[in-house]
């Protein structure tokens, strides 16, 4: 009860402070203050008014001082980094902590790491800082989500930013490094004051301040209290790269030990007293609802507690998952139908073709004049390309645990969007956000899928109707059929070449305008271009898929440019080089991949190489693959990958992300295809939605280049180049151009 009163008071206080919206200023706010309960706070405030008191309440215990929103220091010198991103395998907890510890000179070996609570204050700061320092215009609205904040802002700013690729770029530089440096400065000033010496005469290392002249030293913990009473520097000086000791060296990932001994807790491992298990089936044709349900048999099955018609899905609550699943399978359910309920894959693509023919075109990118530019061309090349829907197929099926009762809701799940999930649950349960807690867990894969909170909303609803704490687990079949898919896209391309085979014009039109907009643009120096999009409404749910629109456009562009090279009678590598002559970063990456992949060197009969280069999320990646066609189907034997992310905070982690992105993209290129039958997804499990396995996995070599560009992403940029590189290699063996993915069942014969 005391709890509730306190909460009420807090809500009231907030109201008195006026609306939470406010104009962003050009600078981040870093404030300091003392809060109730003895916790000392030096906070990074993100808009007028210091918000760190709310943060301290969530993360600081007795005798702990919250020094900026991203770090707390206890008097025994334990330093804890507070990381506002979920771990889905991208090693983000390690990379972001290293960025903080680097600038702070914190002892890496004694650093604790916790995940930030799903609080608004954690959502906002890095963006403000990033855009304040980056000089971009910052819109005056409050974000409701954590990673979702990135998406929200990205939308307004016409760029799509997703999950892992944002964390290092935005939170890392914008928040972690700045906070680390500001904290270190504060601690040094506190020490200087205490010892009555100048700040310049001090040095720091491993969470200690030293004054060598007088042989004095003190722990960060011992100065935390005094530091918190000082006003922090808003724009602390960051180290230069040459002084880094942590960033740029391979750091063992902090999440790995728990992932080899079975102790890592994923969402599916949540344990709540009295918990029951649930599973669901939603309408196979998305957007339809339950028309009729006969639950008699299911309700009578052993272990079954209740069966629920939830409108657009049915759910069973039971003593165990298996019992719930057995009962679900025995349910007799009909769903409503619509025009979409007869749609086949062929009809879908016929609709796309129709909209390319007659739909209203919107221009995405334009230069020169393609009609004029094509006059007097020596050659014109045209081609049509397509890619299918793709599921994310996270290894961990969708799941969430919820306990909704007495005007509150507790949620446990893995999510790429903790705050957005919490807010969505509050809204759906008609609760005050204050009364909804969210405990995050490791994610068994995200890839964009876990940015959508549908599964958490179902868990909450089923807990509410059944009156039990409920762990909802989707079957693999449900996970495959109720995904939010990478869009299926049809694209038409046309180019004209001059007498030397160099392109004069580049035209394309495709369906589906997604994010980021620059994905459909071309980096090559072609004087006249026109890139257009048409609308293609879909009843099938779509969502961000690893590297978002770069997957389809990377494949289209890098295949079609190869067609031009071929028409010009030129080598794909040299042709790209010529068209990138004014972009030295690209040339370096392309050259590095060519060298690593032994471009031009002889290969055994039946093998050839293919090359591609794609920039996404500010990282440039080129790949040279070696493909063997002697078995009739493409077998990738080697991938040489060169990447320039500006700077890799954890090179080993970055390399792992490239490997991961390549296998993810290769799986899609060779096998990935979600098709519609009667408007519903035809695939269901790993037998018909195949995933690349060990016996087909190529050897991958990666080289990381450093440049003075700003930090680029790691989680996604490895994916786009692989499909076109493989397709180009297949052409180089067989002479057959692959214009439709996936590559299986295309009737590709062995080299003749």
């Amino acid at each position: 009860m005391a709890d509730a009163t306190e909460k009420k008071i807090k809500v009231k206080k907030e109201k008195e402070k006026g609306p939470r919206k406010g104009r962003w200023t050009r600078r981040g706010f870093i404030g300091a203050g003392l809060v109730a309960g003895g916790a000392l706070v030096v906070g990074v405030a993100i808009r007028p008014g210091d918000r760190t008191d709310t943060l301290a309440e969530y993360v600081a215990g007795d005798g702990e001082h919250l020094l900026t929103a991203w770090v707390k220091i206890s008097e025994d010198n334990t330093i804890t980094a507070i990381i506002p991103h979920g771990e889905m395998g991208q090693g983000i907890h390690t990379a972001l902590s290293a960025m903080l510890a680097e600038e702070m000179d914190a002892d890496w070996d004694a650093l604790d790491i916790i995940e930030a609570p799903a609080e608004k204050d954690y959502a906002n700061f890095p963006l403000v800082r990033e855009f304040a320092t980056g000089g971009a215009k910052v819109p005056g609205f409050v974000f409701d989500t954590l990673n979702g904040a990135m998406l929200g802002l990205a939308k307004k700013m016409d760029m799509q930013i997703t999950g892992g690729s944002t964390s290092v770029r935005f939170t890392g530089t914008g928040a972690m490094q700045t906070a680390g440096a500001a904290t270190r400065e504060l601690l040094m000033r506190a020490a200087a004051k205490d010892w009555d010496v100048s700040v310049d005469s001090l040095r720091t290392a491993k969470s200690m301040v030293y004054h060598d002249a007088s042989n004095r030293s003190g722990t960060y913990g011992s100065f935390a209290a005094a530091a918190s009473e000082m006003k922090p520097n808003l724009q602390p000086k960051l180290k230069s790269r040459k002084d880094y000791t942590l960033m740029g060296s391979p750091l063992p990932r902090v999440d790995i030990p728990a992932k080899v001994d079975g102790t890592a807790d994923f969402g599916i491992d949540a344990k709540v007293d009295g918990m029951k298990y649930a599973t669901v089936m939603a309408s196979p044709v998305h957007g339809q609802t339950v028309a009729r349900i006969d639950a008699k048999d299911a309700e009578a099955m052993p272990g079954v507690i209740s069966v629920h018609n939830m409108g657009d899905y049915v759910g069973v609550v039971a003593d165990g998952y298996w019992q719930a699943k057995q009962a679900l399978d025995s349910l007799d359910v009909d769903f409503t139908t619509s025009d979409a309920s007869s749609l086949s894959q062929e009809q879908l693509f016929a609709q796309y073709a129709e909209s390319l023919d007659t739909g209203k075109r919107k221009t995405m990118h334009k230069a020169g004049n393609v009609a004029k530019g094509a006059e007097g061309a020596a050659k014109t090349i045209e081609a049509e390309y397509s890619v299918p829907f793709l599921a994310h197929a996270c290894m961990e099926p969708m799941n969430a645990t919820a306990w909704v009762r007495d005007g509150k809701a507790d949620i446990w799940c893995g999510t790429q969007n903790p705050l957005g999930t919490r807010m969505a649950v509050a809204k759906a349960m008609e609760l005050d956000a204050e009364n909804v807690t969210l405990t995050t867990a490791f994610m068994g894969g995200g890839f964009g899928r876990r940015a959508t909170p549908d599964y958490a909303l179902q868990a909450a609803a089923l807990s509410k109707v059944s009156g039990h704490p409920v762990k909802l687990i989707w079957s693999r079949e449900e996970t495959t059929q109720q995904d939010h898919y990478r869009p299926a896209v049809l694209g038409r391309f046309k180019a004209s070449l001059d007498a030397d085979g160099m392109p004069l014009t580049w035209e394309s039109v495709f369906n589906h305008e997604g994010e980021p907009k620059e994905a459909s643009d071309i980096v090559y120096a072609i004087p006249n271009k026109l890139v257009q999009v048409v609308d293609s409404p879909s009843h099938t749910r779509l969502g961000p898929w690893r590297s978002v629109d770069h997957t389809q456009h990377g494949y289209f562009t890098e295949s079609f440019i190869e067609e031009l090279a071929h028409a010009a009678g030129k080598d794909g590598y040299e042709y790209r080089r010529a068209l990138l002559a004014d972009k030295p970063r690209f040339i370096k990456v392309l050259d590095a991949a060519a060298k690593l992949g032994k471009w031009g060197e002889p290969l055994p009969e039946g093998q050839a190489r293919g090359i591609s280069i794609v920039e996404s999320f500010m990282t440039i990646v080129a790949q040279v693959v070696t493909v063997d066609m002697s078995g009739g189907d493409p077998r990738v034997v080697h991938v040489a990958c060169a990447a320039d992310p500006g700077f890799a905070v954890n090179p080993d982690g970055f390399e792992a992300q490239m490997q991961s992105g390549i296998i993810y993209g290769l799986t899609a290129a060779l096998y990935g295809e979600i098709t519609l039958e009667g408007g519903a997804v035809a695939q269901s499990n790993f037998h018909d939605y195949e995933i690349l396995r060990m016996d087909e996995a190529p050897k991958i070599d990666t080289i990381i280049l450093t440049s003075d560009a700003r930090l680029g992403g790691g989680g996604e940029p490895g994916t786009p180049p692989i499909a076109p590189a493989v397709a180009n290699a297949v052409f180089n063996v067989t002479g057959k151009r692959i214009r439709k993915l996936p590559m299986r069942d295309l009737g590709l014969g062995a080299a003749s």
């Binding site: 079975g262 290894m395 050897k699």
Partner: protein, 157 residues
């Protein structure tokens, strides 16, 4: 009531003997290190050992393990509590990304090395092809298995 040993500990499970071993262990004993991936023996995430043999516990009824020794990822460490050579190698090569498949990968690799202490690439491909890693860490898994093989050979003299 089904009697069996889990990680050396005699255990009675009071559930329908048709319940897949995976769910019986996860829900009744709280040992949640073994994961659910597909439910149809296609991904290997649920791999446990039953009398030393790797099985897909999602598709193995509890009754089949009656009276037998079941080992899960939680029970694979050495008797003195130190990590198994395979687990050590997994850390050395920083194998896991999301980590969700890795209990199954490790259990399968332990079984492979027991039967084939010095596996070739082909041996590894064949033995590990049943375990999907959606994060694509195959290169690292392969390297880690070789490291573990070496470590075991050295230890075994």
């Amino acid at each position: 009531m089904v009697q069996l040993k889990i990680n050396g500990k005699p255990t009675q499970l009071d559930v329908d003997p048709n319940t897949p071993l995976l769910w019986a262990v996860r829900e009744q004993t709280g040992l949640t290190g073994t994961k659910f991936g597909c439910g149809i023996a296609m991904c290997g995430a649920c791999t446990m050992h039953v009398d030393g043999q790797p099985v897909r516990s999602c598709s193995t009824p509890l009754s089949e393990a009656e009276g037998l020794d079941v080992t899960t990822i939680e029970g694979i460490a050495n008797a003195d509590g130190t990590l198994h050579a395979v687990q050590e190698a997994w850390i050395e090569h920083q194998v896991p990304q999301c980590g969700y498949c890795q209990s199954g990968q490790i259990m399968n690799a332990v079984a492979l090395l027991r039967d084939t202490p010095n596996p070739s690439d082909d041996d590894i491909n064949e033995a590990m092809a049943g375990n999907i890693c959606r994060c694509g860490m195959y290169d690292r898994i392969r390297a880690a298995i070789k490291t573990a093989a070496k470590a075991s050979t050295v230890m075994g003299g």
